[in-house]
Amino acid sequence: MNIPPELKYTKDHEWVRIEDNVATVGITDFAQGELGDIVYVEVETLDETLDREEVFGTVEAVKTVSDLFQPLSGEIIAFNESLEDEPEKVNSDPYGEGWMVKIRLSEPSEIEDLLSAGDYKELIGA
C-alpha cells in the first residue's frame, strides 16, 4: 500500500498536496484498489468555489459510482482533463498522473484538520 508521507489525507480516501496556497487532490492508492478499474471521472465544478465536504465530482468504477468531496474550501482552478480519455491513470498512478483537481484555498487553516500519512494508514488498517 503506497501512502506517501509528504501528503495529507481525508477519511474519504483522498490525498492532498499543498503547494503555496493551492491544493492538488486525488484519490488514494487504497481507494483506487478498492474501486477497481476506474472508467470515468466527472468534474463539472471547474471555476466554482465550494465549501469543504461539498461534492466536486464523481469517480466511477465498473460497478460503482462514488462522490468526490472537497477536502478543503476553495475555488477549483484546474481539472485533470486527461482523465476524460484515460481514467485508468487513477489506477496506475493515483498520486501522480491520476491527480484530479487543484483548489485555490479560501480557508488555509482547514489544512490542520487533514490526516497525516500515519493517521490515514491507521484509518485503513494498513
Binding site: 477497481g36 478499474d37 470515468y40 466527472e42 464523481t58 466511477e60 465498473v62 460497478k63 476524460e84 489506477n91
Partner: protein, 362 residues
C-alpha cells in the same frame, strides 16, 4: 452466506469476494477490463456454481415443463438445450432459465441463484396434479463457464469428444479433465463462444485446476462476476432482477422469440393478447452520444426532460469505450435510431436506441 466448492481457491488467487445471490462469489481477480478483454479475445473461466439446477424426470416431465415454461420444450431432442422463461400468472416473469434434455424423460433446468427457492415453489405448485419427479440438485452441482474464442482449442486436450463439433446450444455428456461424466454444453452468457461444464461439487476442484493448466498456453485467466455482467450487457442479454422481473412481460422484454403460443402454458392467453395488440413499452438498448455511464435506476427522459422510462442495466462498455444500457421506453421511442436522454446527475445526456447486440463478435 454460502460458499461454492471453489471459494477458497478464488481467495487464494487474490479474488475480490462479494456476497451475491446468497453466495460468496469472486467479483474480479485482475481487474474487470482485463478480464473482459481476455474473454473477448482469448479464453477465461468463471465459477458460476451459484446457479441453481433442478432435475425433472419421468413420463410427466415434458408436460410439466411445457406448462411452466414459455418456449416449446417439445422441440428439444436429447443433447439440445433451450433458453426459456417461467411466466407468472400476472403478466411478468418468475425467472429465465436454460432447459437441457438429458435423456428421453430427463430434463435439467438451470435457474438463477437468487430465484432457486421461488422457482422451486412455483414449479412444485404446477407439479401437484402432474406428479413428475422433481429434484433440486443445486447444492450438489458446480458449474464452470469456459468462454472465449480460444475455448475450443484450449480445452480440446481435456476430452475425447471433438469440441468443435458441439453446436451452439447443444451439449454432450462426456469425459472432461479426468472425470467420466460431465455435461459439456456449448452455451454461455458472454457472446464470445465457449462452453459451460456441469459437474459434481467434489469434482470441480480437479476440473478447475486442469482447465487452468490446459489453458495456460492460451493465456486463460479466471474471470469474475463483474466482467460477466459487462460481457452479457454488451450482448444485450437480459439479467433477471435488472431487465426482467415479476412485472415485465416476456413480450415487452423482447423475449417473444422464446414465447410460443402453439402450446398451453402459465398465462399464455394474456400474453398472446399482449403480443397481438402490441406491448405499450419495449426493452431497448441505447448508446450514449456523450461522456457518461448510464446506471440501473437512472431516468430515461425525452427532449423536454420528461421521464419516459428507467435504465434497467447500464455500464461503460469495455469493448466500445462508450456508455451503454438497457431500459423500457414507450413504443414510439423504441425504434432503432430513436433519440433519448439519460438523466445522469444534473445532465440529460443524449443517447440513441441501437440494434442489439452492442458488440458484434468477429
Amino acid at each position: 452466506m454460502k460458499n461454492t466448492a471453489l471459494t477458497e481457491t478464488h481467495k487464494a488467487l487474490g479474488a475480490k469476494i462479494v456476497p451475491f445471490a446468497g453466495y460468496n462469489m469472486p467479483v474480479s481477480y485482475d481487474g474487470v477490463n482485463l478480464e473482459h478483454e481476455t474473454v473477448r479475445k482469448g479464453v477465461g473461466v468463471f465459477d458460476v456454481s451459484h446457479m441453481g439446477e433442478f432435475l425433472i424426470e419421468g413420463p410427466k416431465a415434458l408436460e410439466l415443463i411445457q406448462k411452466v415454461s414459455s418456449n416449446d420444450a417439445s422441440k428439444l431432442t436429447i443433447g439440445k438445450a433451450q433458453y426459456s422463461c417461467l411466466p407468472n400468472e400476472t403478466g411478468g416473469i418468475v425467472d429465465d432459465l436454460i432447459i437441457y434434455r438429458i435423456k428421453e424423460e430427463t430434463y435439467l433446468l438451470v435457474v438463477n441463484a437468487s430465484n432457486i427457492e421461488k422457482d422451486w415453489a412455483h414449479i412444485s405448485k404446477y407439479n401437484e396434479t402432474l406428479g413428475a419427479d422433481l429434484r433440486n440438485i443445486s447444492d450438489d452441482y458446480s458449474l464452470l463457464a469456459i468462454q472465449g474464442p480460444k475455448a475450443v482449442a484450449a480445452m480440446q486436450s481435456l476430452t475425447s469428444v471433438d469440441l468443435s463439433q458441439i453446436k451452439f446450444y447443444n451439449f454432450v455428456v462426456a469425459d472432461f479433465a479426468g472425470i467420466d461424466y460431465v455435461i459439456i454444453s456449448a452455451t454461455g452468457y458472454t457472446g464470445s463462444g465457449g462452453f459451460e461444464v456441469y459437474c459434481k461439487n467434489n469434482e470441480v476442484q480437479q476440473i478447475w485446476e486442469k482447465v487452468l493448466e490446459a489453458g495456460e498456453g492460451f493465456g486463460i485467466k479466471p474471470i469474475g462476476l463483474a466482467a460477466r455482467d459487462t460481457l452479457r450487457l454488451e450482448m444485450g442479454y437480459c439479467l433477471y432482477g435488472n431487465d426482467i422481473d415479476e412485472t415485465t412481460s416476456p413480450i415487452e422484454a423482447g423475449l417473444g422469440w422464446i414465447t410460443k403460443f402453439n402450446k398451453d402454458f402459465v398465462n399464455a392467453e394474456n400474453l398472446a393478447k399482449e403480443k397481438e395488440r402490441g406491448p405499450e413499452r419495449k426493452l431497448v438498448g441505447f448508446q450514449l452520444e456523450d461522456r457518461g455511464i448510464p446506471r440501473q435506476g437512472y431516468d430515461i427522459v425525452d427532449g423536454q426532460g420528461r421521464k419516459i422510462g428507467s435504465v434497467t442495466s447500464g455500464t461503460m462498455s469495455p469493448s466500445l469505450g462508450k456508455g451503454i444500457g438497457l431500459g423500457y421506453v414507450p413504443l414510439i421511442f423504441s425504434e432503432t435510431g430513436s433519440k433519448l436522454h439519460i438523466q445522469i446527475r444534473k445532465n440529460a445526456v443524449p443517447a440513441t436506441v441501437v440494434r442489439l447486440p452492442f458488440y458484434k463478435s468477429q
